[in-house]
């Protein structure tokens, strides 16, 4: 087993374990922390695939900005394990079974697809480097890029308007 394979399995186990922690943890703060670990594991996968730009953006945007926002909201509402609403056991079981069924159906459908045995480029490859992606972003995708700034502006104004106290 080579180093990249060991790293792949380690990161996969970390991502899956912390994702399960996310949905089983009683306290919302623990869920947020588990999700941060998942995002770091996924960023590790991006680095392993040599998609360096996306790895950094994933850490900055998701693990940095979004999860801090989540943590702030959890802290603001002073949520803890005792205030946590609980679902009925039967409903939880039904949710678990339906999610598991979806997983089984998808795996069974994709198991015999043509492409499953193709290999991905690990560690090598130029396509994920900042230079190439930036050139592509500002040449071919410059209009969506500018439109996304309008989207951010509208999201910002929307967040302020929604969370403003009504008089």
């Amino acid at each position: 087993m080579s180093t990249t394979e060991i790293l792949f399995w380690f990161l996969s186990a970390l991502a899956l374990g912390s994702a399960i922690m996310l949905i089983t943890a009683r306290s919302p703060v623990h869920s947020v922390l588990a999700l941060i670990v998942t995002f770091f594991a996924i960023s590790g996968h991006y680095i392993l695939l040599n998609a360096q730009f996306l790895a950094i953006v994933n850490i900055i945007v998701y693990a940095g900005a979004i999860m801090v926002l989540f943590l702030f909201v959890v802290m603001l509402m002073n949520l803890n394990a005792s205030a946590e609403p609980k679902k009925h056991r039967t409903l939880q079981l039904a949710g678990f079974i339906s999610g598991g069924c979806l997983f089984l159906v998808l795996v069974a459908a994709l198991r015999n697809a043509d492409a499953v045995n193709k290999t991905t480029e690990l560690v090598t490859g130029q396509s994920g480097l900042i230079g190439n992606l930036g050139r592509e972003l500002f040449k071919t995708y410059v209009i969506p890029f500018e439109l996304s700034s309008v989207l951010f502006l509208s999201a910002m104004i929307g967040a302020v308007v929604i969370s403003k106290k009504e008089k």
Binding site: F8, S12, A15, L16, A19, I23, P28, S31, V32, L35, F39, I42, H45, L49, A51, F53, L54, V61, Y62, I66, L69, F70, V73, L76, M77, L79, A83, E84, P85, G95, F96, S98, G99, G100, F103, L106, A115, V116, N117, K118, T119, T120, E121, L122, G125, S127, G128, L133, E136, L137, P144, L151, F152, A155, G158, A159, V160, I162, S163, K165
Partner: protein
């Protein structure tokens, strides 16, 4: 690394997100599970783009390979905007009902 392992990992993460949405009642945790599903899809897109890079077609047209990663970048952009609005809605909901339990939001039923 074969693509099937990446497909399996992304499917498992996606289904864990779905189970979380179905079994939890706290709106914030449901929202985090949606983020987890988005990330699973992002991971699969990047893995497929790198699979494409290894083929002769991908070697001949490197711009085609970076398309998927640009796509992931835009998904992240939209997710960031979505989170800011969604959390504002959850804060407003908490202010009105003093709880983040989604079962309190069944007023539209009557």
């Amino acid at each position: 690394m074969e693509i099937k392992y990446y497909i399996g990992l992304a499917l498992a993460l996606f289904c864990i997100g779905i189970v979380g949405v179905l079994t939890r009642r706290n709106a914030i945790i449901i929202f985090m599970c949606v983020e987890l599903m988005l990330n699973a899809v992002n991971l699969l897109l990047v893995a497929f783009s790198k699979m494409h890079a290894a083929t002769p077609m991908g070697k001949a047209f490197p711009a085609m390979v970076s398309d998927a990663q640009i796509f992931v970048f835009f998904i992240m952009v939209v997710a960031a905007a979505e989170v800011s609005v969604g959390l504002a809605i959850i804060v407003m909901m908490y202010r009105n009902t003093h709880s983040t339990d989604v079962n309190f939001l069944n007023r539209l039923k009557n």
